[in-house]
Point group: C2
DNA sequence: ACTAAAAACGATAATAATTCTTATTATTGA
DNA sequence: TCAATAATAAGAATTATTATCGTTTTTAGT
């Protein structure tokens, strides 16, 4: 039987994840939390993020630029990865996405449990900056 | 100036990739090609797969189960990852997908250059097998 | 075909992200 | 309070991938 106990550090990691929409990596959260918990181990951050994912309290965004990113939002939504600034943005899925999932489920005769939509490109900020250069 | 020269091994790797729809990893291709090219180095497979991706002759499907998978199909299509058998299937994108890309581009004011749709679930084969058990 | 320049190669060292191990500490239920 | 056990820190181990480097192929120009 695996019970889950409470710990200050686990809660702090989850709070830190929930406080941002930047889809941080284990290493980023570790660096940030080091200030408040100087003895926080990177392994602890990794382990707890995995537990959050297992428990449905977070999702893995995927390996981007070599590192796994995490998201506290577990509802269906997409991500935009900017190839300039390397940030990851949440993108609200238009209703069409639901239909897309259903269509794919039917056409493949598979049971779809999750769908990850990732768009790559240049975000609005970086596009503006690029305009200044070309102008 | 970087020119690209031809080599038998590079061609063999590309041929092997093109001969399958299983989205192999570098390691899988290496294992397979070892029979015909016993001195083929794993590094060579990695290097060439990267070149194919750079040249637009293949795409990176993404890191799945810890390893990068490659696909010779570069046209827009989605992938289904079965959590039982761990296979990766091609999924034809219904026309709606185009609209989805356009919609997202507009709503985020970003320039979308690529989009990766990955569905996770249980494939048709594995669903059938599961039925036998529950029946 | 001959040759020099550059690319491709194999072997393996290096790197980087993540997981695992172990001894210690913290949490929980009785 | 106390015993059972989950959680932790530190760092070793693992794994995928990239980089290095000396040698071999390929190719363009003769």
């Amino acid at each position: 039987m695996e019970t889950r106990k409470r710990s200050k550090k686990r809660q702090a990691i989850l709070d830190a994840l929930r406080a941002t929409c930047e889809h941080p990596t284990a290493e980023q959260l570790h660096r940030q939390l080091k200030a408040q918990y100087p003895d926080l181990s990177l392994g602890t951050v990794y382990r707890n993020l995995s537990l959050f994912a297992d428990d449905g309290d977070a999702i893995r965004v995927g390996v981007i630029h070599g590192q796994e990113h995490f998201d506290w939002r577990t509802d269906p939504h997409a991500h935009l990865v900017c190839r300039r600034c390397e940030r990851i943005f949440d993108v609200e899925l238009p209703l069409e996405a639901d239909r897309l999932c259903a269509t794919v489920g039917k056409s493949t005769d598979a049971e779809i449990t999750e769908c990850a939509f990732t768009f790559h490109g240049v975000c609005a900020d970086c596009r503006q900056k690029a305009e200044h250069i070309s102008a």
